[in-house]
Each structure stands twice: as structure tokens, then as C-alpha cells.
Amino acid sequence: MDWAIRTRNLRKIYSSAPPAAAGQKGPFPAGQRDKGTKPQGAGDSKPQITALDGIDLEVAPGHIFGLLGPNGAGKSTTVGILTTRVRPTSGSAWVDGHDVWRDQTAAKRQIGVVAQRPNLDFSLTAREILLFHGAYFGLSSHERTQRASALLDRFKLTDRADQLVRGFSGGMMQRISIARAMMHDPQVLFLDEPSAGLDPQTRLLLWEIVREYNQKGRTVLLTTHNMEEADALCQRLAIIDHGRIIASGTPAELKTSVPGGFLLRLRFTHHSAPLLERLGALPGVTEVRAAGDSSADLYAGRGGSLIPEIVNAAAAFGVEISDVHISEPSLENLFLHHTGRSLRE
């Protein structure tokens, strides 16, 4: 099968803080510092940060594929490598059959990229940004003008089209960035955290436009740490954490892979091993995990109906429950199940 996007054992080790281009926030946000083995340049004192640790991805043409993970998981670095902006330490990446690092120009022709942070040309107006982008990709003058007008209209930017983007709000900049990425009608569209900072209305507009674009047979890869977005848009997902893919599949498959489906996060005055053991034996409970001294995560096939039994069990051990949070089967639970951490942490 010809994959739209494929990577083989992609690794990226930064020997200093990942640059802004990789979309990382803060000075030392990403991945893991290598504490034990130093993969390269052993002996030099620069801190090495493993941003990607063997990523294998396969995205079929015409899919909307989501890379889901918390900040610093390696999503932006993966996108960076696939879009020629970050050189991998090892491994290979292909877009639309072109080796991204051997056949860069051909690969660049097939991709449209929306970076995590707006990187608009501040010396130009919104329309000029689209027109010049079209010119870089060799569109004829007629084609450029038409497409720019259509995109400005679609993204509801026509009334601001001839103003410098310098004065645009964050949401408007994001919209023009996405319009620019679509300007040359690329086969594969990369959206790095496309809806971060957008108001709900614009987010819906964005989703609509992404679906529309996908329906033309184009492939979309988006990164997000928003479960709702991943669930609403993506046909397939890969969950990424610490530079590794920890699960992948359709959103439904992934959700059903969580034992029980429901997650009950409990907080007690204190808890003990016998209590957790007792909770684990309750009917419908598939797994109990301690989370700190006074909290526990309980995976179960049912939610609210378990509460009286939990309260009783706790009371039997002389423990009071101070907080209960029930969540239905979701990608959030899945992430928590695989990593022991919440996506928002």
C-alpha cells in the first residue's frame, strides 16, 4: 500500500534545548533527559534530550490522522521531521512516497504546514500572504487570485484581507495560517495544534473546513492534546508520550481498549492495600491503581452504580471518601491508563 505518511524508527535527540521551531514551549519542556545511556557524543557535557524514541507511523491516503499527547510528548518534533524543518537523528520518513530527507523539494510540493505558533509574513497583508505563497508554489497569477479570494471568503477574512496581518488577533492569524497551508492544494496537510487558542465558534469552523478538505481525498495529520478534537475529527489516532507511540487505532478501538471503559477517580482520607484489594474485587471492577497516598483510579464496566458499594467498602475499613469523579469511556481515560498521567497534567 502507498502510505500518505510513513515513518520508520524515527529518533530525534536534541543536544541542547529544542528550538522554537519544534514547537516546544519553555526552555526544557520536552521528552526525557537521558539519564543513563548517552546515545551519542558520550562524554560531552551538553544535556541530551530524547524528543523521539523510535516512532513508526503509517497514515493511509485520505485519512484524518491524529497525534495525541501532552505538551512535550514529541508531536511537534514528529511534524517537524515530516515537514523538513527538523532533521531526524536516525530513521526515515516519507510523505506521499517521497523520502522527506532525500527528496526534500518533491516532498515539500506535496505538503501544507500549519505550525503551532503563527509564522506569518508580518510585512504583508492577508491577501498578499496567500498570493505570494501561491507564487512560491508556481501557481499562475489567475489561479492565485481566485484561490486567495475563495480561501479568504471561506475563512471569513474577506473584510480584513487587505490589512497587514501584524494587527490580527491570534484566532485570525491562525485562520490565515491554515488558509495559506491550503493555498497550493497540498496532498497532505499538517496541522500542529490547530485549535489551540481558538474560540469555540472558530474551532467549529476549522473542523468543518478540515473535514471538507479531507473529503476532497486529501490526507490530514493533526496534533492535539484535546481529546474532544481528536474524537470529533480523526479517523485514526496515535497516542504519543515521551517520544514513543503508546497506542494507536480508531478512536472507538482505543476507547474500548481501556479496561472497563469507565474511570472512577477516588480520593480518600487515606487508603490501604487491603482496601484497594477489596475495591478490586467489587463486581464490574477491572483494575484498581493507587495514585498517591490518598487517591486511587478504578477502571470499571459501570460508573455511578458502583458508588454505594465503594462507600460501604471504604466504611468497613474506617475510611471516608472525600471526592469522586466519574468519567465515561474516553480517550482521556485511555491516556491515563497508558501513562498514569492525565493529558492536562
Binding site: 536534541y14 523538513t84 527538523v86 532533521r87 523539494t105 508580518f122 505570494f132 507564487a135
Partner: protein, 256 residues
């Protein structure tokens, strides 16, 4: 190489330059204008400088004007565009090798430097007449040297712009450009340094010295100057060196 994308980027730069025309004109012309007026007119007419100084000074002002413009025109946008806003990203994603994005910047800076250099001549002609003695004996060599000077300015701008961070721009001007200008045989011919033999040797590592001497050799050959052959060889060498260094720095900065 992708001709269409390359030309589109040149068009983009020209468009932005047109939009910023007034500040650009001030930035290009004000400094040489003041130099020419104060040193060529005020100092000479008041008798502190001999009349011949007008002609001696002109090639130096031209060289300063070109180097300043070329470095500024390439380095400043690059420093800004690689900084926080990453404005250059869109061009790096255009379907051509990213080195051509750097070459485009150099070509555009080179054109600006040539304009900034050539415009000094009519400017000086208006302000300094009478007494300005230009002898353009070999227009071909003059054009060639002008091009070499402009491209060393633009390539220098590329190398500096990709090596300096935004917070060090001031340092770049005070530590690199200012000494370059004063030790660049701009206000005096190289031969005037004969009383300072060590300085006279050291300034030979300064490309601006060859630029000033080169323009002196072709515009006012009546004054002492370095040999044209040496000048051509040195300027070509600096052009190649700075372009290689600049492209390498650009690659480093563009791809993480």
C-alpha cells in the same frame, strides 16, 4: 533551483521594500549625504582639508554606503525572520532547496548595495562640485569591482545575520561594522598607513579595505592605491568565503 519560486521571493522582497520606501531611502542616503556634506564640503571649504580630499573621500563613502546597506539589507530581515516569529518558515517550505532562500536574500541585498553605492556619485557631484575629479578610465573594471563589493556586503550580511541573535544586533554594529569602517581605508588611502606598519598589515584582513581601494583605483586613480589585481583577488576570495560561511550558518539556523 526553482526559478519561479526564486523570482517570487525576489518579488516579495521588492514589494516589501516598496511598502517601506521612505524609511528605506533615509536609511540608505542620509548617512552618505551627511558624510559628503561635512567632510567634503564643510571641512574643505573651511580650509581644514585640502580640496583634493573631496575626490579621495568619495570612493570611501561609496564603499561605506554599500557595505552598510548590503549588511543591513540581508542581516536585519534574517535576524528578525529567524527570531520568535519564524516569518521565514513559509519560504523555507517552498518547493526548492533552502539554500536558494539564502541566495535570494543575498541577491536582493546585492541589488540594494549597488544602488546605494552608485547613488553616492551623483549625490557627491551635486554637493562637492567644483573640484571633484573623477577619472572613470575603465568602466568594465569599475562595474566588476562594484559588483564584488556589493556581493561581499550581502554575503557578509548573510553570515552575520545567521550568526547573531536579536539581542546582539547593537554589538554586531559596534564590534564588527564600526572597526571595519574605520580600518577600511575609507577616509584615507591604504598608503597613508605607512607610518603605522603593523596597522597597515592588519587592515589587509578587512575586506572593506579592498573595497575602498578598489573603488579608489577605478574612480580616482590619481591617488595611490593597492594593485587592481590584488584587489580583485582579495574581494573574490572574501565573497566566496563569506557565501560559504553564510550558507552553512543559514542551514544550521533553518533546520533543527
Amino acid at each position: 533551483m526553482n526559478g519561479k519560486a526564486f523570482l517570487a521571493m525576489l518579488a516579495r522582497d521588492a514589494h516589501v521594500a516598496r511598502r517601506n520606501l521612505v524609511p528605506l531611502l533615509f536609511q540608505t542616503f542620509l548617512q552618505p549625504l551627511l558624510f559628503v556634506f561635512i567632510f567634503g564640503r564643510v571641512m574643505v571649504s573651511s580650509g581644514y582639508m585640502p580640496a583634493a580630499y573631496k575626490s579621495l573621500l568619495l570612493p570611501g563613502i561609496m564603499a561605506i554606503s554599500m557595505v552598510f546597506t548590503g549588511v543591513w539589507a540581508v542581516a536585519m530581515p534574517l535576524i528578525g525572520e529567524f527570531q520568535f516569529t519564524r516569518e521565514i518558515e513559509d519560504r523555507l517550505l517552498a518547493p526548492m532547496d533552502i539554500s536558494w532562500v539564502a541566495v535570494e536574500k543575498v541577491v536582493f541585498g546585492l541589488i540594494q548595495a549597488v544602488v546605494a553605492g552608485l547613488v553616492v556619485i551623483p549625490l557627491a557631484w551635486i554637493i562637492l562640485r567644483p573640484g571633484l575629479e573623477l577619472h572613470l578610465s575603465n568602466p568594465f573594471v569599475f562595474s566588476f569591482i562594484t559588483l564584488l563589493v556589493a556581493s561581499f556586503s550581502a554575503c557578509g550580511g548573510l553570515a552575520l545575520g545567521c550568526s547573531v541573535d536579536q539581542q546582539h544586533i547593537g554589538l554586531m554594529f559596534s564590534m564588527v561594522l564600526t572597526p571595519m569602517i574605520f580600518f577600511g581605508c575609507t577616509y584615507y588611502p591604504w598608503s597613508a598607513l605607512s607610518n603605522f606598519p603593523i596597522v597597515q598589515k592588519v587592515v589587509l584582513i578587512n575586506p572593506l579595505a579592498y573595497a575602498s581601494e578598489g573603488l579608489r583605483a577605478t574612480l580616482v586613480p590619481q591617488f595611490p592605491h593597492l594593485s587592481t589585481l590584488l584587489i580583485l583577488a582579495a574581494l573574490t576570495g572574501f565573497d566566496v568565503l563569506l557565501l560559504i560561511v553564510g550558507l552553512r550558518q543559514f542551514q544550521k539556523k533553518a533546520v533543527s
